[in-house]
Amino acid sequence: MSENNVLLEIKDLRTYFHLDEGVLKAVDGVSLTIQRNQVLGIVGESGCGKSITARSILRLIPPPGKVQGEILFHQNGSSIDLAKLPPHGDQIRSIRGRNIAMIFQEPMSAFSPVHTIGDQIMEAVLVHEQVDKVEARRRAIDLLRLVGIPLPERRIDAYPHQMSGGMLQRAMIAMALALRPQILIADEPTTALDVTIQAQILRLMKNLQAEIGMSIIFITHDLGVIANMADEVAVMYLGRVVEFGTVRQIFRNPQHPYTRALMQSIPMIGRTRGEKLASIQGTVPVPIDPPRQCGFADRCPEFIAGRCDADVPPLIETEPGHQVRCVLYESERV
């Protein structure tokens, strides 16, 4: 992987919320790189910090949240540290949408209900680029066609409530692509959709990615979706990346006890019927003033007293490109 292929570098990202009860460490030292034309999958359960990581990149963290660390966005030979920009400033606002766009789980809540789909897609174009309304409308129709909405010339004047969930998700993708961003952040984009519509949207995203060449950060809790979409996968637990590797490394050779438990706890068609699923005991804790230890220690079947609860384990590279945050692999460091 050559240097100039790296589009975004997240270094030691810490997003903390200072609450009355203590410091909620939603993201606690995450480092990731996003390569050009690659899909980075972030997978984890609710509360693992995957969505907060994504929102931190765009500086969409509401107070009392604070973003620390570095988020280096490389473009035309120069780099901007997004973590240092004021969250309401002009600079981050021009990057949002133009360079890095985001789509959400609930398309209904991402659109204003009182404006047409077309107006909302055109708005992005009109704000960021010097074009007139006729041109912006033409571009909006092209985008709706690109994402497979039938009769785009008519649907452009539809209001969000007139469209189905799948169509609205397509429209949101069209809106996100309006300015040809280099990075698309997709936060559970298909979770609210039916399985056949999900398959349509996943195919659409793959085709668009190949066609227009962009990087995608794909966030989901669904291991099936991540296996289909991602080139590289980061598994998150309690604010940290506990395992990172290519999609094959993660699914063929999961190493972290959490990743392994997650894989064993999902029903597999044709393999687990009638059998007992391996479940992970307990529930995900809330990371308010968490102790300095492995976040999974309390639930881990391979917990070693005095080691796992002594400190946060380091990320250990066990094979090229495959990293695990677990003391079990300390002797296997390559």
């Binding site: 398959a199 997650l262 029903p267 019927r273 699923l277 391996a278 995900v284």
Partner: protein, 341 residues
């Protein structure tokens, strides 16, 4: 595991069930049409078995479940419950007639956050059915609640806590404990694990299976997640726009589907394996509006095998192979792809 002989009477038998919701419009709220949410559905579930009911949103699976527990009255059809040597048709009974029978059938809901009263303690919530039916009170009630809470794997020291103190998985256990309070025979589970995290989902699925084995429960398991349904069900039924379009033993339905919609549904499941990409069968378009379904077979506008006959003639649900029912004119002629074979 005994094979279910046909001489054995099923626990639940549904015949020709229909639920039509009127569409009202205009100032006078005149009925201008009907949504055929459930349209002539028949099936049965043997005692101690699980029937999985799948389909996409709007297919009528939740409405069907709600009709069976008589949360809503069906428009037509029969719902026979065969318990304690008695046979009761629930479909036409009034609220008062239903009250003493409700202990036989209970429901577990999808959203563990909305289905528990936030102002009541766990003791109140789980004990409520016992109190309302005058089955127990005081110390006896508390003892029964303790037994139930223990049975679903919750710590007994939580008895006086309120729902907000619990995680989603724990709340779902509370909902299950409440459903079990009156020793029901049938439990309708409506998306019981879809709001839960993956690791917690496995705990609840295991719990449901353990309880079924211990208490001989019969489940109607409604879900949209096909991997979950495959895991837990003995038989699976697929619904599309209010109609049951296929029903068979779980393994047969998944490995050898007989309806093109089932084939497409199976093909769309994202498998947790990077070397098993999404199936090639792409379903275009969307589920039709149940208020104005297409002519003939409701699936024909999206079906890649559709022929002229499909456009005009609605296929009945028929036994295309022993024990395998499908509503397709061409089941015998098609070579449909399954999964997990």
């Amino acid at each position: 595991m005994q094979s279910n002989g046909s001489s054995e009477q099923p626990l639940l038998e549904v015949r020709g069930l229909k639920k039509h919701f009127p569409i009202q419009a205009g100032f006078l709220r005149r009925t201008v049409g009907y949504v055929y949410a459930v349209d002539d559905v028949s099936f049965s579930i043997p005692q101690g078995k699980t029937l999985g009911l799948v389909g996409e949103s709007g297919c009528g699976k939740t409405t069907l479940g709600r009709c069976i527990v008589r949360a809503i009255p069906p428009t037509a059809g029969e719902i026979w419950l065969h318990v304690d040597g008695q046979s009761i048709d629930l479909s036409g009974l009034s609220r008062n007639e239903l009250r003493p029978l409700r202990r036989h059938f209970q429901m577990v809901f999808q959203d563990p956050y909305l289905s528990l009263n936030p102002r009541k303690t766990i003791l109140d919530i789980v004990g409520e059915p016992l109190r309302l039916n005058n089955i127990a009170e005081g110390k006896a009630l508390e003892n029964r609640v303790r037994e139930l809470v223990d049975m679903v794997g919750l710590n007994l020291k939580y008895l006086n806590r309120y729902p907000h103190a619990f995680s989603g998985g724990q709340r779902q256990r509370i909902g299950i404990a409440r459903a079990l309070a009156l020793n029901p025979k049938l439990i309708v589970c409506d998306e019981p694990v879809s709001a839960l995290d993956v690791s917690v989902q496995a705990q609840i699925l295991n719990l449901l299976q353990d309880l079924q084995r211990e208490l001989g429960l019969t489940y109607l398991f409604i879900a949209h997640d096909l991997s979950v349904v495959e895991h837990i069900s003995d038989e699976v039924a697929v619904m599309y726009v209010g109609k049951m379009i296929e029903k068979a033993d779980t393994r047969k339905l998944f490995t050898n589907p007989q309806h093109p919609y089932t084939e497409a549904l199976l093909s769309a499941i994202p498998r947790p394996d990077p070397d098993q990409p999404l199936g090639e069968i792409e379903l275009t378009g969307e589920v039709p509006n149940p208020a104005s379904p297409p002519s003939g077979c409701y699936f024909h506008p999206r079906c890649k095998y559709a022929q002229e006959r499909c456009r005009v003639e609605a296929p009945p649900l028929r036994e295309v192979k022993p024990g395998h029912w499908a509503a397709c004119h061409f089941s015998e002629d098609l070579e449909l792809q399954g999964v997990g074979g």
